[in-house]
């Protein structure tokens, strides 16, 4: 393995990466044990609710890492990554809907409840294949990839950059939101998908399945973190940062800036899609609100809070801000949006490098 040999030492030379991966391994080992093996009476017991929350945060961390890769390292402020996340979620959601089978309210063997309710008599063509797990899994990656490819190809080829790209990506997200809200799209309209029963035959409500999903999510986060580190540590990574800082210089050195941007954007979209696919079975619902432009903006705030261009900072930012959200929306529901705004403004003014900048000297920051 030529690639592995050169990339792994690089990963382990980096102390922040080591710490991050060690912490992640710890969470993946300890949380399931505290949930499944420790009796409920013990003060060390973690409830399934907390396990679900941690799993959700880890999905957000993958999404934030994807956004950091494209924004922090390549300077492309994408405001449609939550849409890629939702598309991945919808793809796995379609599989989970087909798995319900006759256990639905209407007990139809093929059609999900909402289709029966809408008096549809056959499955739309684009639902074919989603009864197979491998097919759904492929779509989790392919659908965001295809959309990112087409959108990115058009935008980058026309040299749409900066704020114009951000606005267009937000418009894309909003268009998807409107489309998925429509009942006749065949994706459950504003209710989306819910009432999932099982995944690959495992009951989604059981503690074991939830813990397993958490472990898979942690492993996926570790793998995507490693992949991103490999990319940014390679010569291609240096080209990508050069594009961020001096785009036309890079172009005059003979690099096809457009194709670098395009492939990075596609890869990052796939990461977001995978994160969404892990998210949906753990939270048990997917609906069009995930396409809301504000969701993509929130991701950008997580990354800014954690520290852009660091990858682990983005992941940490996602977890931290979402923990605050969980806490504040329960304790002081009306305060949350103000708090989010205040955090963003505070970080922008006082910590332009994010929390990761606190313990990294300026010379170390890329």
């Amino acid at each position: 393995m030529k690639i592995g040999r050169q990339a792994l030492p690089l990963l382990f030379k980096d102390r922040a990466s080591c710490g991050f991966l060690a912490l992640l391994t710890g969470v993946a080992l300890v949380v399931p044990i505290l949930n499944v093996a420790v009796p409920e009476s013990s003060p060390l017991h973690l409830s399934s609710y907390v396990v679900g929350l941690i799993g959700k945060y880890l999905c957000y961390a993958i999404l934030a890492t994807a956004v950091d890769l494209i924004w922090g390292f390549c300077g492309i402020l994408s405001l449609c990554h939550a849409a890629f996340f939702a598309l991945g979620g919808y793809a796995i959601g379609m599989y989970l809907m087909r798995q319900i089978g006759t256990r639905g309210v209407y007990g139809h063997p093929v059609l999900p409840d909402f289709m029966v309710f809408l008096n549809w008599d056959a499955l739309p063509w684009f639902w074919y294949g989603f009864d197979r797990f491998w097919f759904a899994l492929a779509m989790v990656a392919l659908v965001p990839a295809a959309l990112a490819f087409v959108f990115g190809w058009l935008a980058f080829r026309s040299r749409v950059t900066g704020v114009y790209f951000s606005i267009m990506s937000q418009a894309l997200s909003y268009a998807l939101l409107l489309a998925f809200f429509r009942n006749d799209m065949g994706f459950g309209g504003n209710n989306g998908f819910t009432d999932f029963k099982d995944l690959l035959g495992f009951d989604l409500q059981s503690d074991g399945t939830r813990s397993a999903l958490l472990v898979v999510t942690a492993a996926t986060l570790a793998a995507s973190y490693g992949a991103c580190r490999m990319i940014v540590g390679s010569r291609a990574g240096r080209v990508i940062r050069s594009i961020r800082d001096a785009e036309s210089r890079t172009r005059f050195l003979g690099y096809s800036v457009e194709s670098y941007k395009l492939w990075l954007f596609v890869f990052s979209a796939v990461m977001a899609g995978v994160a969404g696919a892990l998210y949906v079975p753990q939270v048990g619902i997917i609906n069009p609100s995930e396409f809301e432009p504000i969701k993509s903006i929130e991701v950008v705030i997580w990354v800014a809070v954690g520290g852009r261009g660091t990858l682990f900072g983005a992941a940490a930012g996602a977890i931290l801000v979402n923990y605050l959200k969980t806490y504040l929306t329960a304790a002081f529901p009306e305060l949350w949006l103000y708090a989010l705004g205040a955090i963003f403004i505070g970080v922008t003014i006082f910590l332009p490098r994010g929390l990761a900048g606190l313990w990294r000297s300026p010379s170390q920051v890329e």
């Binding site: 390679s234 240096r238 800082d245 001096a246 210089r249 005059f252 096809s256």
Partner: protein, 278 residues
């Protein structure tokens, strides 16, 4: 003029008569002069009513160092933009060697074909080390699939070390480019051009903002490159131009106003009127 032999086909040319070669060249493209590295013919670029280039015709011989001077707005930068594919002309043709039509290529393709450009403002990648800056400029496969797994070969490392010597930055190889002085950044950028192994180098105001010592060193550097590469140097500093140039072209209002050695150009009354006298 230097021998009219095509640079890459020396062996073959000895067996071919001059007449045949000339005829072959004429069949390829009649307007292209044999043996020129760069040939611009009647280039016109208009921005609204303003003609940045007005039927500009210009050529560069192999290994030549051509200096271009001219007042602000004479079209110097626009000309470089056309050569490097950043601006498309309304009319005219631009040929690199005998076979490369510059107007049909993108910026990246032109760079890969062998034209390097140094910008007026030094643009190096500040967050990368001097060594990494040169690494990125290396003439190599530049597709993302290659750079993702690429490692430097010993030959490529040697080449980088060699260029580090040429631009006198050997001691700074691990320093961040952003920490270099202004003059050192200019040299690094010239070094990055050399890494591309270009046949033609476009150098825009290389000594602007340099100390006299740095200016002198830069002049030596450019002179040492001529011969192996062809160079077009755009510069305002007359003393500097005098010290390096054999042939000087004066641009004014998008056209060639005068051409020749520095003395004849400087004594040309039209040039004195538009430029030197001002």
């Amino acid at each position: 003029m230097t021998p009219l032999l095509p640079r890459t086909r020396g062996a073959q040319a000895t067996q071919t008569s001059w007449r045949e070669m000339r005829e072959a060249a004429a069949r390829r493209k009649p307007s292209v002069l044999l043996g020129k590295v760069l040939h611009l013919d009647k280039l016109t670029v208009s921005f609204d009513q303003f003609k940045a280039l007005d039927r500009l015709t210009l050529y560069v011989d192999p290994g030549e160092l051509l200096c271009i001077i001219g007042p602000n707005g004479a079209g110097k930068t626009t000309m470089m933009d056309v050569i490097t594919g950043r601006t498309r002309p309304d009319e005219g043709s631009a040929w690199f060697g005998k076979t490369v039509n510059l107007l049909a290529l993108t910026e990246a393709e032109i760079a890969q074909a062998g034209i390097g450009r140094k910008f007026q403002k030094p643009t190096v990648f500040e967050f990368l080390s001097v060594f990494e800056n040169l690494e990125l400029a290396l003439a190599d496969n530049k597709s993302i699939w290659h750079t993702m797994v690429a490692r430097l070969t010993p030959i490529q490392r040697e080449r980088i070390d060699e260029v580090l010597q040429i631009i006198s930055l050997g001691a700074k190889r691990t320093a961040r480019a952003g920490a270099l002085s202004h003059g050192q950044k200019q040299w690094l950028e010239i070094g990055m051009l050399l890494m591309q192994e270009p046949a033609l180098l476009l150098v825009d105001e290389p000594v602007a903002g340099m100390t006299p010592q740095e200016t002198e060193r830069t002049g030596e550097l450019l002179l040492s490159l001529a011969g192996k590469h062809s160079l077009i140097v755009v510069e305002h500093d007359m003393d500097f131009v005098r010290s390096i140039a054999k042939r000087v072209t004066v641009l004014c209002e998008g056209r060639v106003l005068a051409e020749g050695d520095m003395d004849s150009v400087q004594n040309d009354p039209r040039v004195i009127e538009v430029y030197l006298g001002a």
